[in-house]
Symmetry: C2
Subunit: 282 residues, 2 copies
């Protein structure tokens, strides 16, 4: 048995599947967990790869640590989506963190991940508060600056995640952020042309709303093309400020062997954009 | 019709194919050109992707410009393999270049590329000299320093390219290099475990033979996992020396719109290695 995710025509990823461990149609989407021949257990939503046990560290480290180290003292963190728990796990490695709200619309995702990807989440951590609600409505209710970091860990801009690419949503995030607030978000592959309009629109919104906004990249082998873009935006902190870099060097050293992708060189290097990627943003 | 390249079990890349344009068993390997639904024409050798018309610029720019800008005055360049002509095309953008020897063992590769990927090579350039010979034997005959830059543009370490990963071959390259000589080579995906021993052995050889050796990375969507590693080595020039970076800034500006991946930020950022990649080299 094989799983396919085609990002264009009949072109894309193929993964050998030993068996289907979980398959459930929730009110929002179809959630499946497949035991694969190469990548451990793999979660898909509506036929799109979300994460595998073997490659999830890349996405979660890059989505979490770039904004978390950029902020000088992140105490309250909001994660929109992220039901598998991997982003929260990385956020919780930061000793300054006091409170993490994780707002996942679909409890099926959390249930499936807890049962079939037990190494991914850190759900027993008392600082982590899981809410099964619509993330956009959740942020809308936060009418005063409250969160130091907001991480948007949503799926592709189809289905329930489509509004996570809207300007209105990022305006709500801005309002909910404290004065030195930082956000990150996943923003699809620059190689997949059908996503170019959504990527361009999102970065234009960030440019308009935030004082600083930048794209950065990560190698994610199970996402279409293996090249994935992420967004960084803040109320003024540049991701490569020398103070930020000092924190990255000190913080990654103290996290010791927990990190398998992110490090100070990667923090800097991931913001280097090839010419054709810059073109997508133009 | 679909083309598959599995790097483990039944896991890998799938590409939609409209038709087979070329298929020939040469004395060395099976060379095919497929018209695909997404990536233009695609060349495979023994069932492994070599390049597509739409993504080849990444590999060729990164393999060529990193060593070419590192050298202060590259006049004579040797390319081992590279029969499609893309690496030579990028090398020939450098105005200092006087003579390029391209040593491709298999004339079938050149013939197929000329016919079905006419935009890739610059075969009519009078500075380019194509030799249909074994690249390893060719370098062995160069017993005195002659080339400023040597680029190893071979296929995977199986079949005719296996010796391109040997220590002996890199010793020959070292001997053939002038006093400030630089080399680059493709060195497989750090995500594919079956290649780890070959990658590790190659970088240990470079460490032993050259004064400077480093790995760098590029996003290549049609190679296994989309993360590809390359080797840089030199007789003393560090790839991020300030003189090198000055040349990169000046040179890429004058190349204008020809470059679609490589730029000064990418030259630096591509040497940032994630933790799990560093582990492969240990």
């Amino acid at each position: 048995m094989q799983f396919n995710e085609f990002y264009n025509g009949r072109t894309g990823l193929t993964v050998g599947v030993n068996k289907v461990l979980f398959s459930e149609q929730s009110p929002y989407q179809k959630v499946e967990i497949l035991e694969t021949d190469t990548w451990g257990n793999l979660m898909t939503i509506d036929g799109m790869v979300m994460l595998s046990e073997k490659d999830e560290f890349v996405y979660h480290e890059m989505l979490a640590h770039v904004p978390m180290f950029a902020h000088p003292n992140p105490r309250r963190v909001l994660i929109i989506g992220g039901g598998d728990g991997g982003t929260a796990r990385e956020v919780l490695r930061h000793p300054t963190v006091e409170h993490v709200d994780m707002v996942e619309i679909d409890e099926t995702v959390v249930r499936a991940a807890k049962q079939f990807m037990p190494g991914v989440g850190d759900f027993n951590n008392p600082k982590l508060h899981v809410h099964f609600e619509d993330g956009i409505a959740f942020v809308d209710k936060v009418t005063e600056p409250y969160y130091d970091v907001i991480i948007i860990d949503g799926s592709d801009p189809v289905g329930p995640a489509v509004d996570l690419f809207s300007e209105k949503f990022y305006q709500s995030c801005y309002r909910a952020l404290t004065s030195r607030g930082v956000i990150s978000s996943q923003t699809e592959s620059p190689w997949v042309e059908s996503y170019h309009p959504a990527i361009r629109k999102l970065f234009r919104s960030l440019d308009t709303i935030f004082e600083v906004s930048r794209m950065y990249l990560a190698f994610i082998p199970l996402y279409p093309s293996g090249m994935w873009s992420l967004a960084y935006a803040s109320k003024g902190i540049h991701p490569h400020d020398s103070e930020v870099m000092d924190r990255v060097v000190k913080g990654t050293t103290s996290m010791d062997d927990a990190l398998r992708y992110y490090n100070p060189e990667v923090h800097q290097g991931s913001f280097a954009l090839p010419g054709f990627v810059r073109e997508v943003l133009r």
